[in-house]
Point group: C2
Chain length 344, copies 2
């Protein structure tokens, strides 16, 4: 039983050894109902014995499908994205789809390149969340034109083709702001990122609405649009420190950035939450290990991933169609911790 271990064995090898046709072997390996179960067993046994592995390229070429779903995210290194991926992976694995994951590192240019690449890789469907500076959805046109289903999550364009899975960012922004107001805050700063992205624009709208509903005048100077990296957080903290009239509350659209800001303010003697009450966004694990622990909005990543994948796959299976379910909104929750709670 010495076979050249480097040579790939094919269904023809199996067929020959068993005096069957390749067609029968192909069917047996796919568990086709019309094949005698004894034949099936013989074939499967020999296949494993020989270390047969089916050639996906041949199969895909023949069938004209890839059974692969593309996932295009803005960043891999984020608890939120990881959990979304976990959700997607769970569903796609069950349905026997493969995943091709690409990250755009918050760059529109890279996002475009990745979209093209996934298109050329012929994914059967695409799940995507936009990068910071994506200006339009032209790079997804090829998918639309070829009828490849598209589903966006979290960072979406309102008026785009394809379905969307989002949380109610307006509501979450409203709730956080209202919570800070309830703690007695009157001058609430909002630190956010590119307003091109729905998530940030909507939270800002929520913030404004909450202020209005509480008869607090909106002040443009209290809204900071910046990045969310460490350096951006430091910059924002320094800006706050320079303000003659400081805010008494801060709603920061990202937990990591909130933690950076909080840390720097504390180093300069500002007390949290007494001087400034702080709320973040995302419910990152990190929020529980800083002092004080961070109030935040819990973002249901796994669920988002599952729902996106589930919808995409049922569309691919033909058991449902995406074109009608255009927008799915998932519940998010305000998690109150010490960084925002004033005993007074």
């Amino acid at each position: 039983m010495k076979t050249d271990s480097r040579a790939d064995i094919t269904i023809y090898d199996i067929a020959r050894q068993l005096n069957l046709s390749a067609a029968t072997v192909s069917r047996a390996l796919k568990d086709h109902p019309a094949i005698n179960s004894k034949t099936k067993k013989k074939i499967n046994d020999l296949a494993t014995e020989l270390g047969y592995r089916s050639n996906n390229f041949a199969s895909n070429l023949r069938r004209g499908r890839t059974n692969t779903i593309g996932v295009l995210v803005h960043e891999l290194n984020s608890g939120f994205i990881s959990s979304v991926l976990a959700g997607i992976e769970k569903v796609t694995t069950e349905a026997n789809y493969d995943l091709l994951i690409a990250q755009s590192s918050e760059s529109a240019k890279k996002e475009i390149a990745n979209a093209n690449n996934l298109f050329h890789k012929r994914v059967d469907g695409l799940i995507a969340s936009l990068s910071f500076d994506t200006e339009n959805l032209a790079h997804f046109d090829p998918f639309v034109k070829k009828g490849i289903p598209l589903i966006f999550f979290d960072r979406v364009f309102e008026d785009s083709e394809g379905a969307k899975v989002v949380i109610d960012n307006f509501r979450a922004g409203y709730d956080m702001t209202q919570h800070l107001i309830n703690q007695g805050c009157k001058r609430i700063m909002h630190v956010t990122a590119s307003l091109k992205r729905n998530v940030y624009a909507d939270r800002l709208r929520g913030y404004k609405q909450a202020l209005a509903d509480n008869s607090i005048k909106y002040d443009d100077d209290l809204v900071v649009v910046n990045g969310l990296e460490e350096s951006d957080g430091i910059e924002t903290a320094q800006r706050v420190l320079r303000m003659k009239k400081k805010p008494d509350g801060m709603f920061i659209t990202n937990d990591f950035c909130a933690a950076v800001i909080m840390h720097h303010l504390q180093e300069e003697g500002i007390r949290i939450p007494e001087d400034i009450a702080i709320g973040g966004f995302n419910n990152d694990v990190m929020g529980k290990i800083i002092s004080p622990r961070l109030t935040t909005i819990d973002y249901p990543g796994v669920q988002m991933g599952e729902i996106a994948a589930r919808n995409l796959i049922s569309h691919l299976d033909g058991s449902a169609t995406l074109t009608h379910t255009n927008k799915i909104i998932i519940k998010s929750d305000l998690i109150i911790r010490e960084s925002s709670v004033r005993s007074s």
Copy 2:
């Protein structure tokens, strides 16, 4: 110019319209030197006009290669892994390879499934870091048998086939321990994870050696082997709090876990670094936003990824061979911050 936008166009379509052969079209699209540049231009222009996309399956089937590299990691949501991926991605993109990324979520079972899957996907090479509880490398045998090059990084088996890219964990563990000793620590606790993994076992050896070199007796009770999740950190912190004779220093093999432990100890009134000096491992961004900021070992993720990918690719290109370069050791650095520095 109304083509059915759903039908895929092939090199034959282009050949027909231009009165050329498919072979010429194929060569032109690959920028083959033997093709007239005018012909090339005509072909490329028509290709883009028609929205031609090459069929990878046909190409792979024909060439018997995939130009895909598999990456098997224990976890995606980690700054370290993200940076390794960034390094890998950079190199592979330049060399025109695709990436198939799979995460085992620290489970040997999932790692085995992923390895099989990548094998069946016929990756040209594999880059991997082992999960916590992987017991052996049997699931990589198929790759070895088929002559598919394998390169492990960070979490490796010493006596395995395939090349390895690692840091000097013994040295790093030694340095951190020596640093704590220099701060006056006499009872240093070491919190680590599965000693099946070289990274943890080697750091422990370094810890022991440093103690020995400073004539400090090694005490088994001061070594905690546990997970590195939040719950594990809390558990360890509670254990410390219950100890009658507490440690005066802690070397924790992971920054996140160190932060969790530190936070819980602080909540119980223990002062860091005065009562207990703490050092972590990995140089996670988080280490800079907690109070006190965390002493750690900087882990050169991007570089590791680049080196692993570069070696694999030059092996695949035939320009070098992996079998001889068996182990590459990358420099790591001790980063001293407030969590371990005693003014005394």
